[in-house]
């Protein structure tokens, strides 16, 4: 090939600096918001900045964080999973039923319950993904159907009653606070987030999740099967719903067919506040963790400030809308930098 006679167009922003700016805008923005909100409540709300309250918040975000981790995969591929709340309910009653079987030793019962929860959740998620890709139906509708089916199945399995009497060792583990500052169930949530982060960031599979969400037709014409990755994302979301069900059992010690009502919306809110785009292809799971923290800090903080239960949802709703507006601006800024 011949030489170009023209130099490349000069670049006033160096690649390194652009990278840093991108990081600031994309990832640090939500974190900064969390810090500011936390500071605000620390100053204004009594008891907010106490170790006890911090522990409480860690305990309270565990379930939503686990659900939102799986939800991040689905939303990254451009889908949505409305069924995770009732899949969680189904998994709590399945898990609890296995665990209270007196013919098993506690250790075996707990292990089997964990496996049953994960298998049930993954099966529901797989169905969501398989149906929506096989017949090309929007996942919104398919998972809305699953929301109802799983809720019904939870009642059938539990005979419409709450299941209690979990093994004492299990209950004790749920109450455990490691080193006096790390609740066991928060540790579970952090481990799930870490696993998700690793998969999305370092694996071929994670790369394909982003690619499918960016342009599934281009992925198909590049010689891949995008449906495989979509089904996998839904299966992961179901799997995390199963793990979240175990966290629920650890925290509340009951299997309940009416658990998890509305949880799907909290999970979606955490993902979106965390900066993942609803149209797919863009986002991060660390953002999701931060998003879940923001939701809970707000909720707890407002409560401590004496904002009534009626006003609290209004404020939280506003924050969700605000996050999406900021996301739109962030996209515009990022486009200019890249």
């Amino acid at each position: 090939m011949t030489e170009t006679s023209e130099p490349l167009v000069s670049a006033p922003v160096s690649p390194g600096r652009a990278k840093f700016l991108r990081f600031l805008i994309r990832d640090a923005g939500v974190l900064l918001a969390l810090v500011l909100i936390t500071l605000f409540f620390s100053v204004s709300a009594p008891y907010f900045a106490t170790p006890d309250n911090a522990l409480k918040i860690f305990v309270q975000i565990a379930i939503n964080t686990v659900l939102a981790a799986g939800m991040t995969f689905v939303i990254l591929t451009g889908g949505i999973d409305l069924s995770v709340g009732s899949v969680l309910a189904l998994c709590t009653v399945v898990g609890a039923t296995v665990m209270i079987d007196e013919s098993l030793s506690p250790a075996v019962a707990i292990t089997l319950a964990l496996l049953a929860c994960m298998a049930t959740g993954a099966a529901c998620g797989f169905l969501n993904g398989w149906i929506s890709t096989r017949w090309k139906i929007p996942s919104f509708i398919v998972t809305l159907g699953m929301l109802n089916m799983a809720a019904g199945a939870a009642r059938v399995v539990s005979d419409n009653s709450t299941i209690t009497g979990l093994p004492q060792s299990f209950v004790d583990f749920g109450n455990l606070i490691i080193g006096g500052f790390l609740p066991s169930i928060f540790l579970v949530a952090v481990l799930v987030i870490a696993a998700g982060w690793f998969v999305l960031r370092f694996t071929v599979f994670g790369r394909m999740i982003f690619a499918v969400g960016t342009n599934d037709e281009a992925v198909r014409l590049s010689g891949h099967n995008p449906d495989f990755y979509k089904v996998a994302a839904f299966t992961i979301s179901g799997l995390t719903a199963g793990i979240a069900a175990m966290v629920y059992l650890l925290r509340l010690n009951i299997g309940s067919p009416i658990a998890g009502v509305g949880y799907e919306l909290n999970a979606i809110a955490a993902v979106i506040i965390g900066g993942t785009s609803l149209s797919g292809g863009k986002g991060s799971i660390i953002g999701t963790l931060v998003g879940a923290c923001i939701l809970q800090v707000l909720s707890t903080g407002l409560q401590l400030l004496g904002v009534g239960d009626n006003f609290k949802p209004i404020v939280i709703g506003l924050v969700i809308v605000l996050a999406v507006i900021l996301d739109a601006y962030r996209e515009r800024l990022l486009r200019k930098i890249r």
Partner: protein
């Protein structure tokens, strides 16, 4: 020049990473047809977007009709009387032609009810202006690209625009359609409409243009009268050097054994069976009108769309292709005509676009090796001379030619035995075009089979060993290089459409 309709004074636009436009001063006379030329990234698109109100300049001033012109939105621009027909068409596919034409000003009968009669009557009149005789109630999705283009122009006319900006209007048109478009442009000019016309096809601009402005790397090189200029003059201004032979046909390359053969391929019950083959080291041209089934045949062969019947053989062995992944596994590559919609992951970086075809090559145990990936991507970016600030730049922000190079790079990364290229130089400027031609010759020399679908007949005649011609889904003829003749190929392309 006494009657200036639009004047730019030292206009500049900077994006982080690129100076898109710098110190551009330009006067457009009322009633002239002004051609704007330039390579990829020369600043043409930026200039258009400033006029269209999509971007605002960072420096300099623009005056329109003697008044400062500072549109904040495309709507502002339209209100002022400047109308831009973008290269990417902006029609609503599920609405009728008439509704699209008058979307912003639907005739009403009171209570907000649309006056369908008036709507369709006015639409017929507008369509007549652009020579489209078609029922205005037809949904836009049923139209071909060329017809959509004409609808866009008719839409621009419906607003009594003072200044019409046409961005590469002929990119997807066939020669007769281009002829018709030029007749329309001349008629508009006669009516006093000022036109700014952007194109990559140098030969055609002489027919309609009064003056030409050439941009290079965001700066204005010159504004000249077209009269007295030649194509080489303009090329020199555009790229700052001479281009001897655009295509560089390499007669030393001898096609070898058959690489890919297609026998009795039948897409669906209504289309005829087609057969063709390409040899190793051969560039096979595929000509035909837009909508003649060229693209569809290639997609069916590649497994992108379902097919009813037919045998595909690679190096003499029949292979089953039911999805693109089968085709890719057997060494086929497809560069689609719609590179943004089907070829690229626009929001992802250059490197991720390149490695998507074979991540296994830069990963171990399912983990992507980022440094191996960056090395491979940098290597290809250097080889193909992709102009990007780094391999981490999103491909959305690259120019058309550079985006096309990224698509080629992704197939080169995978390694391929036969490439199917559908309109590889559409929306690509002359400099990058030449680089793509050179690359194709390198691939041919490396004994790859190459199928090149193009609406640009001179390009096919410059590049190919043979040309097969599609007409109404049928292959109506095959012309060897020794017998290349524009008239003959065109008449073949029309053959099935003129028969009773």
């Amino acid at each position: 020049m006494d009657d200036v309709i639009l004047s730019l004074e030292g206009v500049g636009k900077i994006f982080p990473g690129v100076v898109a436009l710098s110190g551009v001063s330009l006067s457009i006379a009322r009633g002239e047809t002004h051609i704007v030329l330039g390579e990829n990234g020369a600043g043409k698109s930026t200039l258009i977007k400033l006029l269209a109100g999509i971007y605002q300049p960072d420096s300099g001033t623009i005056a329109f009709n003697g008044m400062p012109y500072q549109p904040k939105t495309p709507h502002d621009a339209q209100q002022s009387g400047i109308r831009v027909v973008h290269q990417e068409l902006n029609l609503l596919p599920y609405l009728s032609i008439a509704e699209n034409l008058m979307l912003e000003n639907l005739p009403r009968r009171g209570f907000g009810i649309v006056d369908r009669k008036a709507l369709n009557r006015r639409a017929v009149a507008l369509l007549k202006e652009v020579g489209l005789e078609i029922d205005p109630r037809t949904r836009v999705e049923a139209l071909g690209v060329a017809q959509m283009q004409l609808v866009e122009i008719a839409k621009a006319l419906s607003y009594d625009s003072k200044l019409l900006v046409l961005d590469e209007p002929t990119a997807t048109l066939t020669p007769p359609e281009i002829k018709r478009l030029f007749a329309i442009i001349k008629r508009l000019k006669a009516k006093g409409v000022t036109i700014i016309y952007i194109s990559h096809r140098l030969h055609e601009v002489f027919e309609i243009g009064d003056r030409v402005t050439v941009l290079r790397n965001g700066r204005l090189v010159a504004t000249r009268d077209l009269h007295g200029l030649s194509v080489p003059d303009i090329v020199r201004m555009m790229i700052g050097r001479d281009i001897a032979d655009e295509f560089g046909f390499d007669a030393s390359i001898m096609p070898g054994k058959v690489a890919l053969s297609v026998t009795n391929l039948k897409r669906d019950a209504t289309t005829p069976e087609i057969s063709f083959a390409v040899r190793h080291g051969e560039i096979l041209g595929v000509a035909g009108l837009v909508g003649s089934g060229r693209t569809e045949a290639m997609r069916a062969l590649f497994g992108a769309d379902p097919k009813l019947d037919g045998v595909v053989e690679i190096d003499g062995r029949p292979v089953a292709i039911t999805a693109p992944k089968d085709a890719v596994r057997h060494g086929l590559s497809l560069l689609t005509e719609d590179r943004k919609g089907q070829g690229l992951l626009l929001d992802l970086a250059v490197d991720k676009n390149i490695t998507i075809t074979d991540l296994g090559k830069v990963s171990r145990h399912g983990l992507v090796n980022r440094s191996a990936e960056a090395a491979a991507a940098n290597d290809l970016v250097g080889q193909l001379r992709v102009k990007a600030s780094s391999i981490e730049q999103a491909v959305r922000n690259l120019s058309g030619g550079n985006q096309q190079k990224v698509v080629l790079a992704k197939w080169l990364f995978r390694g391929t035995s036969t490439l199917i290229l559908d309109e590889p130089t559409r929306g690509v400027d002359i400099g990058a075009r030449r680089e793509i031609y050179q690359l194709l010759w390198m691939l041919a020399a490396a004994q790859k089979g190459i199928i090149m679908v193009s609406s640009d007949l001179p390009e096919l005649m410059g590049m190919c060993h043979r040309i097969i011609v599609f007409s109404k889904n049928k292959i109506v003829g095959e012309v060897p290089r020794a017998e290349f003749d524009q008239e003959r190929i065109l008449s073949l392309a029309y053959q099935e459409y003129v028969r009773p």
